[in-house]
Structures are given as C-alpha cells and as structure tokens.
Symmetry: C3
Subunit: 201 residues, 3 copies
Amino acid sequence: MTLQYTFELLGTFFFAISGALVIRDKHADLFGATFTGFVTAIGGGTLRDMMLGSYPLVWIGDIHFLYAILAGVLVAYMFSNFLVKLPKTFLLFDSLGISFFTILGVEKALSVGVRPEIAAIMGMFTAIMGGVIRDVLTNETPVLFRKEIYATACLAGACLYLVLLNFDLSRNTNLVVSSMLIMILRLLAVKFRLALPGFKR
Amino acid sequence: MTLQYTFELLGTFFFAISGALVIRDKHADLFGATFTGFVTAIGGGTLRDMMLGSYPLVWIGDIHFLYAILAGVLVAYMFSNFLVKLPKTFLLFDSLGISFFTILGVEKALSVGVRPEIAAIMGMFTAIMGGVIRDVLTNETPVLFRKEIYATACLAGACLYLVLLNFDLSRNTNLVVSSMLIMILRLLAVKFRLALPGFKR
Amino acid sequence: MTLQYTFELLGTFFFAISGALVIRDKHADLFGATFTGFVTAIGGGTLRDMMLGSYPLVWIGDIHFLYAILAGVLVAYMFSNFLVKLPKTFLLFDSLGISFFTILGVEKALSVGVRPEIAAIMGMFTAIMGGVIRDVLTNETPVLFRKEIYATACLAGACLYLVLLNFDLSRNTNLVVSSMLIMILRLLAVKFRLALPGFKR
C-alpha cells in the first residue's frame, strides 16, 4: 500500500466524518448521516469521473473507499459531541483534504488527456463538489458561495502544480508544494477573513 | 412482454403519478408536473446507470418508459382531486414501487460486474434517488432526511436478495421475497413511526 | 470558423453573462459569479452528453468554450450596473440562446441515434438545464417552475424541427424556422403572461 493510497483513504475517511457531522443539527437519522458522509466523500471524484467518462468510478472499482466512509460515519456518530468541540482541528483536516484531493484530481484529469485548463477545473471540482452536493441535498447555501476563499485556493494550487510540471521536480515534491499552497491560502483566508471582491454596486 | 417488464412499466407509471402530484400544491403548471413526474420516475435508474457507465439509459433505449410517464402525468392531472384523497393507496403503491425497483437495481448492477456491497447501494439509489432529485428541484427537504425508515428498508431488502443468491432459490422467488421485506419494513415504519436513531447529544 | 460555431460560442458567452449576474444580489464573490456563469453556460449540454454517454463533453474537448465563459463573466463583472438596467435586452439574448441551443441539442441527440421523442427532450434539456442547475445551487426555485411558458416553448420548437426534417428544407432553414418559433413563443409568453394551465382544484 503506497503512501498516496493511504492518504486517499484517509482523506475519504475525514470527508465522511465532516459530512456526517453536518447532519447532527438537523432532524435526521443515522441513515441520513451515512448518506451525507458518503456524498461528501465521493461526490467530487464521482462528478469528475462522470464528466471525463472515466469508468469505473473510484469507489465502485475499489471497495476500500466504501469501508473508509463507513468507518468515518461510525467515528462521527460515536464521538460527535467530542468532535464538534474541535473546530480548529476540523478546519485543519478539511484544508488537508481539499489540498490533497485537488492535486490528485488534476493528475487524474491529465491522465485521461485533457488540457491543463480543464485539469485545473477538474482538480478543484474533485475537492469541493462533494461538499456542494451535500449542501444542496441538505438545503444549505453551498459552501462555495459563502466561505472565505475556498475553491479559489484549490484553483491556485492546481495552477501551481501545472506550472511546476514544466520544471525538473519530482512528482512527489510537486504534489507536496502545490498542496501546501492550497492549505496555506485556505488557513490564511479563514484567519484573516480574506475574500475575493464581489460585484461593485 | 414478460411479467417483469410489465411491472417495470407499471412502476414507472406510478412513480410519475406521485411525482406529478407533488407539484399540485405549488404554483406550477402542467409542464412542471410533467417534469417532476419524469424526474421522479427515471431519476434513480438514470443516476445508477450513469454511475455504472451503462449506456444507453433505460428510458433512452426503450421509448415505452416515456409513454408510461406521460400516461402517469395525464392520470395525475385528470384525477388529482380524487387521488389526493387516497394517501393509503399511495403509500401502498410507493412501497411497491421502491421495493421492486430496489431489487431490479441490484440485479442491473450485478449484471455489469460490481461487488455485492456496491450493488446494494445501487439498488437503493434506483429506488430513492428519483424522489431525492425531485425534492431538491422543488426545494423540499429530500425524503431521505425526513421520513420514517425509508432508504434503510431498501438497503435491507437489497442485502437479503444478495444473501439469498447463495441459496438454491429461483430468481423470481428471491425477487418476491426480498421485495416483500422492503414493503413490510416500510409499511411497519409508517404505521409505528419507526425511525433509526439520530445523533445523541 | 463556421457561422454555427460562432453562434455556439456567442450563446455560451451570453449564458455566462446571465449566470454571473444572478449572483449579483447574493453575498457571493467573483469566484461564485464565475461558477454560476460556468454552470449556466455548460450545464445543459453537459447533462445531455452525460445522459447520452457522448464523450468528450463539448467544453472539455474544445477549450474555446471555457474562454467564452470567462469573457462573459468578466463582462458581467465590469458592466453589471449597466447590464442590469437592460432587462429587455437580456430577455432577447436569453430567448435567442435557448432557441438556438434547443435545436443544436436536438441535432446532437439525433446524431448519436436516439428516437425523435428523446431528441426533443434532449434539445429542451440543453437549453434549460444549465439554468435549472444554477437555480438549485443558489437555492432559487428553478426557472421552469415559475416562469411563463419557457421549457414548453423549447419543446414546441424541437418538435417543429423534427417534423420539418421530413420536408425538403435545407438544414439551415429548418434551424432558423424552428428557433424562431421558440423565440416568438417565449416573447409572446412574457408579453402576455401566458402560462400553461396548472392543476384544477
């Protein structure tokens, strides 16, 4: 089991936890929590692969992702009262998750032969669309319309990765450097409430 | 025309009726009713086949499903004042529909070679996602977050079907037994307001 | 560059403008505007091609569509205060857009060998589903449930196109005539507040 694969499963596990916890304040049952955990964890990669026509979907071809999700939901269910007291830890895990998934998404898109611009969009989709679909299903305003710089950080990291591909860097170095940019941008955005400009009126 | 095919068209017809009636209390027109009827009837199977990469989609490859939907919408439109007075009849048809569609969805997924765990999820999706997409489009809280045991009953029936595959039963017997489990669970859940536990706080 | 291709890019450009402007009155940033512009412009064609299993998606295979979208979002952002004062101009461009995209969608569906009834639905989806997905993401009631005759006009034009295929007309003549029907129906519907009947109660 490679390091990357371990990270992928861990990322799926954390996304499932955060997805399941979203349901905590709604009048939903354990199935609802499992469903939102599932959607949050696999939504982005699923949409990416359906848009690319790349089959089988990751979680359909490899059952370990389903187990990682179920484990995440179980942890969320058993320790929810403890976990919700750790917003900073959650922010850190969420930032780690979107950073890593963005770059993996870029690589996946490049591997099926799309242009770099499209790969950047696909990387960003991989990271954020699971949360967007979850928000739509639970009648929340999707995260990308309300948060401080979020999807934009993913796009920036994806672009950095694509630029660095032209230099003599190992793939792992590029993965780490580009992911770090996303995480740093995201954490700075939350700390200093950074946001892109809106429409001037 | 086999018995199964008749049931598939009938199930589509009933889903279209229930989908069209949802729009009755909204300020929507006949097109809106047709659209919600259509989405309710084909949404689950469409999502399943798009996730499996299985083309053509059922309703695209066989035009009779479209006719069954239009017939359902027409019946809903003409007899809506009568139909809304029959909530128990509707519960029965809905339960029959999700029971039958779950098992058909499991079989379809198995036929393209996925693992049993994935097939169970796909069966459940087939039955419920049409209603979920309809609810999202009409800004309702998706049925799976508010109802008494619903999707969980589908999952239970799907699992029973998969277990019984290992025994010396005819396919039709298995189909009937597993569907019956879903219907019984669903009707008991409504009658006794059974729900899974939620998060403990 | 053919005339049709020019129109396709122009239609994409205008859809992106209208999609981006939707976000103007919400507390969203420039990324949110880009996202809604993008979704509005490519949503319908993307859903159509994913349902047909027709890959690569148009905007993934041809990068010019992405550039047309970014140009539209930029124009929307820079001139939003001016553009929102032109509702009639917008209605005209939107009507032109849905008219043209409907017929292109019908042709695309026919080209992969589906039946005329399905092609008509796919044409209508091409025109309206981008706006529907945008509305769902921004928690609005989808346009097709609230407007005067809208999707129905697209369906009517699609049907006319399919009927005229049986006559000795050039493809361009048919395209223009059928698109015109959609535009005229839509403009009349807005002017005279025409709506299909709803449920009688």
